[in-house]
Amino acid sequence: MSAPTEPQSPVLTAHRAGLIGCRSCGRVWPQQETHCHRCGAELVPPDRRGLQAVWAWLIAGLIAYIPANVFPMMSTQTFAGLAGNSEATILGGVIELIHYGSWDIAIIVFVASIVVPVGKFIAIGWLAMVAGRPANVEQAHTRLKVYEVVEFIGRWSMIDVFVVAILSALVQLGFVASIKPGPAAVSFALSVAFTMLSAQSFDARLIWRGLPLRSRAATHRTE
């Protein structure tokens, strides 16, 4: 890993050189180009305007996360409802697992469907607020680390959706027991997808835009 050893001299970026870099393949083009001629991706300048998409997806994800916690994830019917007909929300499912004594699985589900989504909302919101603001090199590296963690971990929240899908497909034993997915499964899946899109539309290059132009320059520029 390359440690932050270079801050003595500021790094020339494509943006400062009057060029534009392709985020998909890395090729560099003159600033007036709109599409990368090599891979066909759209060329987007590192600009705080791009954060609007991040906020939009993040809010969509937050909205979808509310019904995901209120409505049941799945409903279990045993002996055609005679022996019990239980509906479990996300949190209810975790508590149920603890009652079974399977702490490890309970922790996996709790982390994947509560800790990770909530942490992701906070982390993306924080990144979108500080992106492009003045920073020093250590702060930029912290932000990059947060972004990498968010991007890596986001997909893992889908575990709970898969659990519901597998259980409801598998436990169709007619009279004895059957499991049906609840409305929360759909809205939770949507919430995870929206926050993944939010993280993807965040432009990591903005993290570095706030670095001072000269290494020891105390004059932090606001733009």
Binding site: M1, S2, E6, V11, L12, T13, A14, A17, G18, L19, I20, G21, C22, R23, S24, C25, G26, R27, V28, W29, P30, R38, C39, A41, P46, G93, L97, I105, I108, V109, H141, L144, E151, G154, R155, W156, M158, I159, D160, V161, F162, V163, A165, I166, L167, A169, L170, V171, Q172, L173, V176, A177, P181, A185, V186, A189, M196, A204, I207, W208
Partner: protein, 241 residues
């Protein structure tokens, strides 16, 4: 290694911008096995490996075979009080074909089966001609870009963990046996890991660019195929501009 300027700050020729932090780097020849990292953020810019294209094609075919097996072989078998139910993913899809939750099932199947197969196909489409030293097929660049864009959405490994959780939840209700499709998914995780270690996007983009595809009117290609990163510097920079 070259002393003459092999880059152009006006047109961006011979330069690479780090996709993660926008720092400019010069394109240079790399020996197989080397890894190039961004000087500022440490993002891996290129890591060419010997014979990577052939390996990637082989791994893509492997994952296609595994995925097709995973669709039709039984995934899990559950039984209690003599009621049994062995289901393949294909059965699951049929069982939900008329329910209100059809969109959810389609999304789940797309993430665990559809997208991985699509990615494997796109990768083979891109790399097969390149591995044989022939010009790429039409729209190969688009195919490869899509293959990379779909990467976060193919979730086979998450599905395996989800299965483990589901097994624990259902254990009190019925006895469960794992079917061949489950093991296919487990194998798929390792195939994906191997594929990732051979994947170097920069090498593939460079190969696409240099193998005769007209990517840039300023950049007449085909001038040299033996020098990896310097065709543009050998040609007249203003040829078509």
């Amino acid at each position: 290694m070259s002393t003459e300027p092999s880059y152009d700050l006006a047109t961006g020729r011979g330069l690479i911008a780090c996709p993660s932090c926008d720092a400019l780097h010069l394109r240079e020849d790399m020996a197989p096995g080397e890894t190039a990292r961004c000087i500022r953020c440490g993002h891996v810019l290129a890591k060419p490996r010997e014979g990577a294209f052939v390996q990637l094609i082989a791994l893509a075919f492997t994952s296609m075979v595994l995925l097709i097996g995973a669709v039709f072989f039984p995934f899990l078998e559950v039984s209690t009080f003599g009621f049994g139910n062995a289901s393949s993913l294909f059965d699951v899809a049929l069982a939900f074909a008329d329910g209100v939750l059809l969109p959810l099932v389609i999304a789940v199947l797309a993430m665990i089966i559809g997208l991985p197969i699509a990615r494997a196909f796109l990768l083979v489409y891109t790399l097969a001609p390149l591995a044989q030293g022939r010009p790429p097929y039409r729209h190969a660049a688009t195919a490869f870009r899509w293959s990379e864009a779909l990467r976060p959405w193919s979730m086979a490994e998450i599905f395996v963990i989800g299965t483990a959780v589901a097994l624990v939840k259902v254990a009190g209700l019925a006895s469960v046996h794992l079917g061949p499709a489950f093991w296919a998914f487990c194998a798929l995780i390792f195939v994906n890991l191997a594929s990732r270690s051979f994947m170097c996007r920069t090498s593939i983009w460079d190969a696409l660019e240099q193998s005769g595809q007209a990517v840039d009117d300023r950049d007449p290609s085909g001038t040299s195929s033996e020098v990896q990163h310097r065709p543009a510097s050998l040609a007249d920079p203003q040829a078509g501009a």
